[in-house]
Symmetry: C2
Subunit: 335 residues, 2 copies
């Protein structure tokens, strides 16, 4: 004896009204006489009726859910963005389908397609490399998409992020001002525009305006893991580096600990600045000076922007790119 799912029709019959009326009260449509509303509400309560969102989605062509493609929830940078996204989503009554991609293009494309199949009303994409293939796939559907915490070099897709070039300039400038000439540039894959294009440009700009020659040997490309940073010191040391700009906090913690474990004095002999000001920067000793990014806000603003796009509230010809303010916080890892 299966428990029968109870539908809008059951409520209508019990309340002796039409399903249209039930639908109206469920959806808060004001065109219902208070007495009727009350009666319907009672029946709904008595029958423990719950509107079926799937049926509603099919009929209305809106699912009030948005897809979120994330490289890895386990990474604080991304989970901070995700939290901002979810909070704003909840505020606007949306839910989030979260899918981990590991930054793998094939997975990203595949996720995108399942999300579209599930009729999400919009998509937030976090990823470090917006390939052409991906851009093509995006274009296939008319579902609004925004990039959170990343950049579309071609500026075809809406995105929310900070000015990476300027932020890195500020950080590296600090290092130069302390007299450092040989400053390492340490980051994840350079084929990710955020690293190879923007951050590197900021780094080079500062060197140039200070008359320091750019030295290819001081660019260290790794993955962004703690471990990769930890084992980097010997290489840094033999390159006679006295300071480092690092593009990721976990990586920076590794670099810092690797140096310290080798007996190097920080910041006296070696200065480090990092990029994301996540919790980690305060947990290590010495605490890490860092560019500050409003991670939560980047997520929140992305989602807010997406809600506008989903409601066609977006101004025509509005800028595709939202730049949020960055900052710099000096801690003990720099002089």
């Amino acid at each position: 004896m299966e428990k029968q799912t109870i539908t809008i029709y059951d409520v209508a019959r019990e309340a002796a009204v039409s399903m249209a009326t039930v639908s109206r009260v469920v959806n808060g449509n004001p065109n219902v006489k208070p007495a009727t509303r009350k009666k319907v509400l009672e029946v709904i309560d008595r029958l423990d009726y719950r509107p079926n969102a799937v049926a509603r989605g099919l009929a209305s062509k809106k699912t009030t859910t948005v897809g979120v493609i994330i490289p890895d929830v386990t990474n604080v940078y991304f989970s901070s963005l995700a939290r901002g996204i979810d909070d704003v989503a909840a505020m606007y009554k949306y839910n989030i389908i979260l899918a981990n991609s590991d930054g793998n293009e094939q997975k990203e494309i595949q996720m995108l397609n399942t999300l579209l199949a599930k009729q999400v009303d919009g998509i937030i994409f976090m990823g470090n490399n917006l390939t052409d293939e991906l851009r093509t796939q995006f274009a296939r559907s008319k579902t609004p998409i925004v990039l959170a915490g990343s950049v579309d070099p071609k500026e075809e897709v809406e995105s929310v992020h900070i000015d990476y070039v300027a932020a890195v300039e500020e950080a590296v400038n600090d290092l130069v001002n302390h007299g450092n000439k040989r400053i390492a540039f340490i980051s994840g894959p350079l084929d990710e525009p955020i690293n190879g294009e923007y951050r590197l440009k900021g780094y080079k700009n500062v060197l140039k305006s200070n008359g320091i020659e750019f030295d290819e040997e001081l660019v260290f490309e790794t993955d962004s893991s703690y471990r990769s940073g930890e084992v980097l010191w010997p290489a840094l040391s033999s390159a006679n580096v006295t300071a480092a700009f690092v593009g990721d906090d976990e990586l920076a913690c590794g670099v810092l600990n690797g140096a310290k474990d080798a007996g190097v004095k920080v910041p006296e002999e070696f200065e480090v600045v990092t990029s994301n000001n996540s919790k980690l920067t305060e947990i290590v000793r010495p605490q890490l000076s860092s560019i500050t990014q409003p991670l939560y806000d980047i997520g929140a603003v992305s989602m807010r922007l997406l809600t506008k796009m989903m409601n066609n509230e977006e101004e025509e010809g509005a800028q595709k790119t939202v730049e949020l303010p960055y900052g710099f916080i000096k801690r003990a890892s720099t002089k």
Copy 2:
């Protein structure tokens, strides 16, 4: 001129077959002549047809999506579980609706209801306090639910976790073996069973079997934040503590740094063990000895269990509780 969404019916017409047949090839039903299948597939490709998962969900009463209620994605403990959940979900072609609750019962109930309204096929609940109200709400629906990384003291809901009592016993025993008599018990809210019931019991058990009297003054209840740990040293110090068991890694990092910043030598003068063996334990100096929990696996196993429940593959009268093995890793924060 809106781009018309193309449906199964369009494909049927173009391929000169019935929609039933199209449905069959889309769903991999073998009862289709190869030639027909080929023809249909061609049309699907040509028309760029994508099955509408919402319509499918309405007709089949399965959405292939599961709800995941999580206190905070930003917390590594939970995000690690979440990653395990999502990976296994993906493996079984499910998607995840992720909702942050902040451990707030009202939000949890509300999320639960939206998830059910969205007709999720199952739910994974992460939370530290399974209240009666929540249990009642769970019972209202027949949707399978499993608890990940937490315990239902009444054992009414399926759950996956480690043996917290035994794990804490092992950790505290280590501390006792090093000659410590005054060992602090530091954790988040004691009204969460995992803290106030299981962990505390393990702690007391060890004291008892070693003839050490339990001292209420050595129990420190805080929230689980880094900051709360950081400011705890003065209190610990005046309680003449020589070691501490801590129930959360962030909290433990705070405790450790607070002590170190006050000039205390770790582990010589003060030993610390923590509970979750997250990345943080290796990032701080000295590195933290810790209970090890297979976080990713707890998530993965929870999801696997849920898939079985969703397919009614679960053995009748099977144990409601899955206990995964814990471990203990000695690092530099203990002698």
